[in-house]
């Protein structure tokens, strides 16, 4: 008797679980807003025929290495070179300069922070290792260029200076 009971309840439980599964997929089918596909070339500007939403990468996406600058065109890099030492394939070159401050002390600053995008594997060790959090990844992902020299970037902006307190 017990086995017959189990047999019959088994059928109904099984059918119920199948219906639950069908409800899940059915709810996706009848709500096209759940579609996650990105139609890439159309949605890069965000006003394509097929897509209203602009394609934006998520915050943790490693697009390319940048040096963050504030409104006064100041960065936090003091040219210590730890990022260069940590880079596994040598895509960072830090060219420092020494200047003499007003009090007569020698100070190390950067002349150029050179980043070879073509050699970068986007491991993110430079960002992790930077003691003054001067480096970051941007969400930019369209890197194709016709000339290889364009892949070499200078990360500190023209005429930028170091932020006070991070020397």
């Amino acid at each position: 008797m017990k086995s017959l009971y189990n047999y019959i309840t088994g059928i109904f439980k099984g059918a119920w679980s199948l219906l639950v599964g069908m409800k899940v997929t059915g709810s996706y089918f009848f709500r096209p807003s759940t579609i996650v596909t990105q139609q890439y070339p159309e949605n890069r500007k965000g006003r394509g025929k097929r897509t209203k939403k602009k394609l934006e990468m998520f915050d943790r996406f490693k697009g390319e290495l940048i040096m963050t600058h504030n409104e006064q065109n100041q960065h936090k890099c003091n040219g210590c070179g730890i990022c260069e030492m940590n880079c596994p394939n040598g895509s960072i070159e830090v060219i420092p300069v020494s200047i003499t401050a007003e009090d007569g002390k020698k100070k190390r600053l950067i002349d150029k922070h050179i980043y070879h995008l073509g050699m970068c594997t986007f491991c993110g060790l430079c960002v992790k290792a930077c003691p003054s959090k001067a480096l970051a990844f941007s969400q930019e992902f369209e890197h194709a260029v016709f000339d290889r020299t364009k892949l070499t970037r200078i990360l500190n902006h023209e005429g930028s200076s170091i932020m006070k307190g991070t020397e």
Binding site: I11, L18, G21, M22, V24, T25, G26, Y28, F29, P32, T34, I35, V36, T37, Q39, R50
Partner: protein, 362 residues
């Protein structure tokens, strides 16, 4: 030309009469057969192409994707492009295959589904052959396809193909029973095996409503067993991409592969159209016995629309199954058939016979 969208009998009789008036009886018959053959072939190809597109699109929506959307508006021409690609592809010769059987197998599969399509009543009078044992014919013909699948697996000389074919054999032998028995349940209710009579008998309400409990049970069993019989959905053990590469059609390429592919989709269409014919009234509009005004309004919708609407509804259900449920293991497959569907089906036939005997159906 007496063309009537609600009743094709006069139209087909007009073609028949004009052919017999203008030709010798032998040639008239040959003409008729060729016309029907051509119409069925065209229908077959068009429905096949449409179903492939529908499957890809519906599957995509179930999986939060968009599906084909580059070739033509909404990707509508995608399957035609695929067909051209398949036609242009090389037919690879397998050196150690059994050449004759290898080449004949796709045709057996496709002929089996062709034979079944002849018995479908599309609308009143639009019916290639109306046997008085229509259901019996359908059961017999639809189980022929497995021979092609077994031959394909055997002659490919490939262990994956053979395993796939054997699984398919075991599966169809088991589930053929359930399909047949659930069809017999409806035969008891209809009192006939002739498909046109079965449709006519549903003028006062479709069998799924008039046969209530028993018909609904038979419908569910038929849906499960028919999905299994077409090697689709959760029962695609014969193909099982992740286990057997592609099962019985691993070694096929080009148009021979396309034949298997097309036959799979057409089998789905055929089982869906028999489900709609037997349970949902085929081309018969939705009628409620007694509500005459309502019935007249429903009669204005052409039977072809009713027929295709119901059939595509069932096809949609089968696609829903396919893209929701995980594939069964072979022992689970056989347990489902022999321990659940078959006993329930036998009890259901008794129940239906009792209902008909007591007159408890509507």
């Amino acid at each position: 030309m007496p063309f009537n969208i609600y009743d094709f009998t006069s139209f087909t009789q007009w073609i028949d009469k004009s052919l017999y008036e203008n030709c010798a009886p032998f040639w008239a018959m040959i003409w008729e057969l060729s016309i029907i053959g051509l119409v069925v072939l065209t229908f077959y190809a068009l429905i096949g192409l449409f179903l492939v597109y529908a499957e890809r699109k519906i599957c995509a929506f179930f999986q939060c994707r968009i599906g084909p959307n580059r070739v033509g508006p909404w990707g509508l021409i995608q399957t035609i492009a695929d067909l051209i690609k398949l036609l242009l592809k090389e037919l690879v010769n397998i050196r150690n295959a059994d050449k004759f059987l290898f080449n004949i197998a796709p045709f057996i599969v496709i002929i089996a589904s062709f034979l079944a399509i002849a018995a479908i009543p599309f609308a009143k009078g639009l019916h290639a052959i109306d046997f008085n044992i229509g259901i019996f014919y359908v059961i017999a013909v639809s189980s022929l396809g497995v021979i092609g699948i077994l031959l394909a697996g055997w002659s490919s000389n490939n262990k994956y193909s053979l395993i796939g074919a054997m699984r398919s054999g075991a599966q169809i032998v088991s589930y053929e029973l359930s399909v047949g028995l659930s069809m017999i349940t409806i035969c008891i209710l209809a009192g006939s095996m002739q498909l046109s009579t079965i449709v006519e008998n549903q003028a006062n309400g479709w069998f799924i409503f008039t046969g209530h409990i028993s018909a609904i049970l038979a419908f569910i069993i038929y849906l499960i067993a028919a999905t299994a019989e077409t090697n689709r959905g959760p029962f695609d053990l014969a193909e099982a991409e992740s286990e057997l590469t592609a099962g019985f059609h691993t070694e096929y390429s080009g148009i021979k592969f396309a034949f298997f592919f097309l036959a799979e989709f057409m089998n789905m269409f055929i089982v869906a159209s028999f489900a709609s014919t037997m349970f949902l009234g085929g081309w018969m509009p939705f009628h409620i016995a007694g509500a005459d005004g309502f019935n007249v309004v429903m009669d204005y919708i052409p039977p072809l629309i009713w027929y295709f609407g119901k059939t595509f509804f069932i096809i949609f259900l089968m696609m829903w199954f396919k893209w929701t449920f995980p594939r069964l293991r072979i022992d689970q497959l056989l347990t489902l058939e022999w321990k659940y569907l078959l006993p329930i089906n036998l009890v259901n036939i008794l129940l239906m016979a009792f209902l008909v005997l007591m007159g408890w159906h509507f």
